[in-house]
């Protein structure tokens, strides 16, 4: 654990009077530079901080809370200019290097995670019109978003156990930067990432030019390479909603997840620095993000759901059970259409070469059945969104179950396709009757789009990495109708 981290966060949180003084001081410094605080920072100290600003973006948290985050190599957090007034950002996680912990890899293939950067945060009030950090204008959540990009599983795989070294330096082999640029060019109002941002777990062999000199492990450098650098145009284009994938569990990239992306307050117990806290830090409560007046999306953390079935005696079971109860409460407002997003597909398939597709996550299904024995989801959930399986799937059911999308084709090596035609009678979960399925394993993303008219439905559109439209799906309650069925040739 980082000692500086353990000290600094409580220090700032415990002393509001000191914070207020610092804020006033920062305003004074900026004002003294002759500006109104709304433009690029000026003056030697601030200019140096800007040059060391590594990333700045906006996340949307529970109830639509705007969360501005910045990662800086400077000693101090940068200023944030909110509606023309400058404030210092709050230190969320101080630079530091935690002692090497157990990871998903052998100890010999692991190392301490180095974070030579401070993560800073600010939570502007609702109604904020503009935000700038380090001279960059950041996108804010729209009250009525019209275009929402959905993607997942975006990192570049470097994993010794798999003998897999994706050519991270080749946009054909690892197209996340292409996808991010394509999505950014479509000017989305919001981006929903459904987990698995980080894949550079082990060192690239020296003789493999495709990933040569790539950072590896779980420190800042890998997060920068896998997410912040390739996604920069998209982080600049729209605020993001971040769901957590299994690659962000504590024994993998959990340390970075907590520092950079988790919407909760950071602290030692949630740092993933110590395996002793994993059984807490690997779980987080669901929360809802409004998508305009009539729609919301519930974000669910399934990082530890795993692939093996788990039953009621497993410690995870009551945790997920309690969280699904919270989901039911979040979607109880019948005036809104509720989407549900988590990483592991629940009512979808995992393709298998030479065999029937595997069903959705059996462990989560078992938990959900204890609360909703037939429906799995609470009644308010109309559409479910997932990643994890590296393909695109759009499923609509004849039974009363939420239509489901899988959008795990965001950059990591794709899985094989699902069969076409799809075998009759196959079900992703007991009691669920598949009506139609549309799918492809080409790299790409999904866009939710709606017209400006009141009550216009969301359309769900699958695109290739280069922005070629593959299919459009129209929802009707908990069902969807796509204009194509079966395999979508790119």
């Amino acid at each position: 654990m980082s000692h500086s981290l353990a000290r600094s966060v409580p220090l700032l949180r415990a002393r509001p009077a000191l914070l207020a003084l610092m804020t006033l001081g920062a305003i004074a410094i900026l004002a003294s530079c002759g500006g109104d605080g709304a433009d690029d920072a000026r003056g030697p100290g601030v200019a140096a901080a800007d040059a060391r600003l590594k990333a700045a973006w906006v996340e949307v948290g529970a109830n639509g809370q705007t969360i501005v985050r910045a990662v800086t190599a400077a000693a101090d957090c940068p200023a944030i200019v909110i509606d023309g007034v400058s404030f210092p950002m709050t230190l969320r996680a101080a630079a530091g290097t935690a002692a090497q912990r157990t990871t998903a890899s052998d100890a010999a293939d692991s190392k301490p995670s180095e974070f030579p950067v401070n993560t800073c945060e600010s939570r502007p009030a609702a109604g904020t019109a503009s935000v700038r950090v380090g001279g960059r204008a950041l996108p804010l959540p729209q009250a009525q978003p019209r275009r929402i990009a959905v993607l997942a599983d975006t990192g570049c795989r470097m994993k010794k156990a798999d003998n897999a070294y994706q050519a991270c330096n080749d946009a054909t082999a690892w197209p996340f930067a292409t996808i991010a640029a394509t999505v950014a060019s479509m000017r989305p109002d919001l981006v929903v990432h459904i987990g698995d941002y980080h894949y550079r777990e082990n060192a690239c062999p020296q003789d493999v030019a495709g990933c040569k000199d790539s950072p590896w492990g779980y420190g800042w450098d890998t997060w920068e390479a896998d997410l912040f650098r390739p996604a920069a145009p998209l982080l600049a284009a729209a605020p993001w909603v971040m769901a957590r994938g299994n690659h962000e569990e504590c024994a993998r990239a959990g340390q970075g997840w907590m520092r950079f992306l988790d919407t909760r307050a950071y602290g030692a117990g949630l740092s993933c620095d110590s395996p002793a806290n994993d059984n807490t830090a690997n779980f987080s409560d669901p929360y809802a993000v409004p998508l305009g007046r009539d729609t919301q999306i519930v974000i669910f953390d399934s990082a530890k759901a795993g692939t093996a079935p788990f039953g009621a005696s497993d410690f995870k079971f009551p945790i997920y059970q309690a969280q699904f109860r919270q989901v039911a409460a979040l979607v109880a407002d019948g005036s809104k259409t509720s989407l549900f997003a988590n990483h592991h597909p629940i009512l979808a398939f995992a393709p298998i070469a030479g065999g029937a597709p595997a069903p959705g996550n059996i462990g989560l299904q078992a938990v959900m059945r204890t609360l909703h024995p037939v429906a799995y989801y609470p009644e308010g959930v109309k559409i479910a969104l997932h990643g994890h399986v590296h393909d695109f799937q759009a499923l609509s059911f004849a039974s009363a179950h939420p239509a489901t999308f899988v959008t795990g084709n965001g950059g990591d090596n794709v899985d094989v396709n699902l069969p076409d035609p799809f075998p009759a009678g196959l079900t992703p979960a007991p009691g669920v009757v598949l009506e139609r399925i549309t799918h492809t394993n080409t790299f790409g993303f999904m866009m939710m789009e709606r017209d400006t008219g009141a009550d216009a439905p969301w359309l769900y559109k699958a695109y290739t990495r280069d922005g070629k439209l593959l299919t459009t799906c129209v929802p009707a309650g908990s069902k969807i109708a796509c204009d194509k069925t079966g395999f979508l040739a790119p």
Binding site: K160, P205, A209, G210, G354, V414, D420, T442
Partner: protein, 431 residues
């Protein structure tokens, strides 16, 4: 597949067992071997893929020399006249037909034909023993490695013994006969020098020593020269033509050839062993039945591949592996004259075209017969219908057009070792 593979995880199985299994069974596998984390039936499940580009222990030169003599010795068969090289000719990328026909080789008794297309032995030293591996994202463990196309043999030493005794190959029939034949051929002194006194007087020891000698030769650099044009390209010493480059791109592209998803290549690595053009995994491709083979004279006769091994090793739901065969290396594939496990195709272009159009134009491959007709009807569901380009509906546009196929074939021609690159090699008549 999740349900059909129940992994018998055993906490007691660990590094010591791994040493006993991998170390003894595969002397070519040096340290740094992955841990055994469980078993599927009697087959180990490892914590990691066994990488091709791993340090190998060089075989003893004396054993290599002895193995080479044994490999080429036509006195060892019954009747004499057939050696290992008769079906694995060093001049033909260690593959040949010994007077056989229709894609299978003849034995020392020429009327007896084999049942499978003789594989090339080049680069086999990298092949690990049979094992399972499951990535955390994968729904089930998958098998890799193992010699023979059905993975039933774990070491080159054990593999080499089978043809010596097999009735349709060298036909010695018993270890006792093999030991006697080795003594009669004058090997006793050399065997005793390398393997101890009396080795050829003990049939079991004799056969083991025979296998070790051959294994040493098969592990030698002679069979893994890495001197193809592609290897020179990897080393930055040669360029591929635009057509070959295009073929490589199609080979790797997941929306087009998607070949590299099984025939592994690391096109940016200067270490050619990363590009063996196989992941040592298994695939059920559903190739058409080779009706010319005597072994297929009976409609009920089928070569079921991996599931026979699965049964022998007590894998749960073994029939799920029927029709699976190990993915061969594509190195020297352009030198070969027959393709697929049953030798049904007579040109490389035909084999590549099969991948491109098997699903879009099944009639071109199966005629009036049902698709996947080389498997019993009940097992045809095992065939891979989901990997690109095998996943498209009949009548759909193939993922590869004819020009793409030509480019792929051109690229595969760059994988030929220098000794086979002479134009005359390709002109050999098709058996």
């Amino acid at each position: 597949m999740t349900s059909r593979i129940r992994v018998a995880a055993s906490a007691a199985v660990a590094a010591a067992l791994l040493a006993g299994w991998l170390g003894a069974a595969s002397p070519a596998l040096a340290g740094d071997a992955p841990r055994v984390v469980g078993h599927v039936g009697a087959t180990p499940r490892l914590a990691a893929i066994v990488p091709a580009a791993r340090p190998l222990v060089a075989p003893p030169p004396e054993q290599v020399a002895l193995g080479r003599r044994l490999f080429l010795d036509t006195r060892l068969s019954r009747p004499a006249g057939t050696s290992c090289a008769s079906c694995h000719d060093p001049a033909q990328a260690f593959s040949a037909f010994n007077g056989g026909r229709d894609g299978v080789a003849g034995g020392s008794v020429r009327a007896r034909l084999g049942t499978r297309n003789p594989p090339s032995l080049t680069y086999l030293r990298y092949l690990p023993p049979l094992y399972f591996y499951q990535d955390d994202d994968a729904p089930a463990p998958a098998p890799f490695g193992g010699l023979m196309l059905d993975g039933r043999v774990d070491t080159l030493a054990a593999q080499a013994r089978e043809p010596l005794l097999a009735r349709h190959e060298m036909n010695l029939r018993s270890p006792r006969a093999a030991a006697r034949r080795l003594r009669e051929a004058g090997y006793e002194r050399d065997f005793e020098r390398l393997f101890g006194p009396g080795v050829l007087r003990d049939p079991k020891r004799a056969l083991e020593a025979f296998g070790l000698g051959l294994q040493a030769y098969l592990q030698s650099d002679e069979l893994a020269p890495f001197d193809s044009r592609f290897d020179e390209f990897l080393r930055g010493r040669a360029a591929l033509s635009p057509r070959e480059q295009r073929g490589l791109a199609i080979f790797r592209h997941p929306d087009q050839g998607n070949c590299a998803s099984c025939h592994s290549v690391s096109a940016t690595s200067s270490q050619p062993a990363r590009s063996l053009f196989t992941d040592f995994g298994y695939e059920a491709l559903g190739v058409p039945r080779n009706r010319a083979l005597p072994a297929n004279a009976s409609a009920g006769a089928h070569d079921l591949g991996l599931c026979r091994t699965a049964r022998a090793r007590h894998w749960p739901e073994a029939d799920a592996w029927c029709g699976y065969f190990r993915t061969p290396s594509l190195r020297n594939v352009a030198v070969r004259q027959r393709f697929m496990h049953n030798g049904v195709f007579t040109s490389l272009r035909q084999a590549v075209r099969f991948y491109a159009t098997r699903s879009t134009d099944p009639g071109a491959w199966y005629g009036a017969h049902p698709v996947f007709d080389d498997l019993p009807e009940a097992l045809r569901g095992n065939v891979n219908t989901v990997s690109t380009p095998l996943n498209r509906r009949p009548g759909a546009t193939p993922a590869l057009d004819e020009d793409d196929i030509d480019a792929l074939v051109a690229f595969l021609g760059t994988l030929t070792d220098r000794r086979y690159a002479a134009p005359a090699t390709a002109a050999r008549p098709v058996p």
